[in-house]
């Protein structure tokens, strides 16, 4: 389920992998928000085109997208069932009680295209930025250290705790546990409770270890900030594109 390799599979060779994270993060966030602002159907081709270019720049394979779209895709599917038939007044086509409505179809089109465009940009962002780097960048950008430390340490323990959980599961199986079902809810609760208790006990020891190495004593060094011209150019391109989209949406 969780594997280390999938995390920030830094395509560091690509233009995107090399883009200074402290500029990449704000640049792409501004861009996705400008995408989400779009209401005009005529802007959709521009959105798709720019997200495709961005995805190309990240040098990620296409399969990367497909494998990750499943979870949010399910939600989109639900919208596809609801919107065209229940939203709006203008009926395009009627079959018994089932009526295909224009406004719903337009909404669906808008939602789908915006989703795909934003999705591609966000995948390109996260797949080229390893989490530890992302965390330090967030701190450099002024996010409170309590959040960034929490993020970093949670990330550190996820792998270990999921393998702890797996081992506990294995142990239960070896003693005849039939697997997860409604009937075995009590065992599941025990397993979860055990995991929490052990995590709590471990947290105590981890805190001791961190204190001994001076946690909270000095400021952790921030990643070196050495942008080159290309970094600023990319940021400028992202900001300009966002501005263009916003202006077009307002004035066209």
């Amino acid at each position: 389920m969780i594997n280390g390799a999938a995390v920030g599979s830094a395509e560091s060779g690509s233009l995107f992998g090399r883009w200074e994270t402290r500029l990449k993060l704000p640049g792409l966030i501004i861009l996705v928000f400008s995408f989400s602002l779009v209401q005009d159907l005529r802007l959709l081709p521009l959105l798709l085109l720019s997200s495709m270019i961005i995805y190309r720049l990240s040098a990620l394979p296409f399969t990367c997208l497909v494998s990750r779209v499943r979870l949010p895709g399910f939600f989109l599917l639900a919208m596809a069932v609801i919107l065209p038939f229940w939203s709006g007044q203008t009926i395009l086509w009627q079959f018994g009680p089932l009526a295909l409505r224009l406004e719903g179809c337009i909404s669906l089109l808008l939602i789908t295209v915006k989703f795909i465009a934003i999705f591609m940009v966000v995948v390109a962002l996260f797949a080229t930025t390893p989490l530890p780097l992302l965390t330090r960048t967030m701190r450099a950008l002024g996010i409170p250290w309590l959040l960034t430390d929490l993020l970093l340490f949670s990330y550190r323990y996820i792998f270990q705790l999921s393998s702890d959980l797996r081992r506990t599961h294995t142990a239960a199986h070896l003693r005849g546990f039939k697997g997860i079902s409604l009937i075995s809810l009590k065992t599941m609760a025990n397993v979860t409770g055990s995991l929490l208790v052990r995590s709590h006990q471990q947290a105590e020891r981890v805190f001791q270890a961190m204190t001994l190495r001076g946690y909270g004593n000095g400021d952790q060094a921030l990643p070196e900030f050495r942008p080159v011209v290309a970094d600023y150019l990319l940021l400028a391109a992202a900001v300009l594109l966002s501005a263009a989209i916003v202006l077009a949406q307002i004035f066209i």
Partner: protein
Amino acid sequence: MHIPDGIISTTAAIGGYAAAGGMTWLSLYKIKQKYGNPRNGIPRAALLTAAFFAASLIHIPIPPVSVHLVFSGLLGVVLGWFAFPAVLVGLLLQAVMFQHGGLTTLGVNACLMGLPALMAHRLFCLRSLFGRRKPLPNAILAFLAAFSAVAAGAIMAALLLIYATPAYFDAAAEKTAVLTLSFAHLPVALLEGTFTAMVVLFLLRVQPTLLEADQK
């Protein structure tokens, strides 16, 4: 409930970020008030966040589908004021590790899960009225806390989907949709409530200090 990118309006997305920012600020303020040096609480909050994250990957089959627990209630009960930052961090971790997007809706999703978690925490704190270590009030309050956390999350999500998406429902259809979405979550809320009550009973026997997030 996990609202993907591009579905809700930008105003709602930005509003979500603003609300999440405010809630985080409030949480950090409360944490500082309680711990003095809030760094002391970080390893515990981080390990428990990771544990919840790991546990939420377990799917429970309710034929014909399989659901996974949200844990918003349990999270609130165990983490107290740390629950909101923990939810935020958990969602960001998910977005980064599974890379399924959710960046513009991060604030909204954090509120959908974090606010009910805080509510669950307040609700569970009522146990001090009945005797903190008595199993029955603990179990009942844990059930109510988790049940209402899921229900609140579902209702908030349904409202958001109706009023913040570019859809044009008539009033009657809206009402039906909210009701349907909420009722669809009824079995999940029941499951979550029962499960949380069981875990709380376990913790009460094995490590009651884990339930005293409000005590410091």
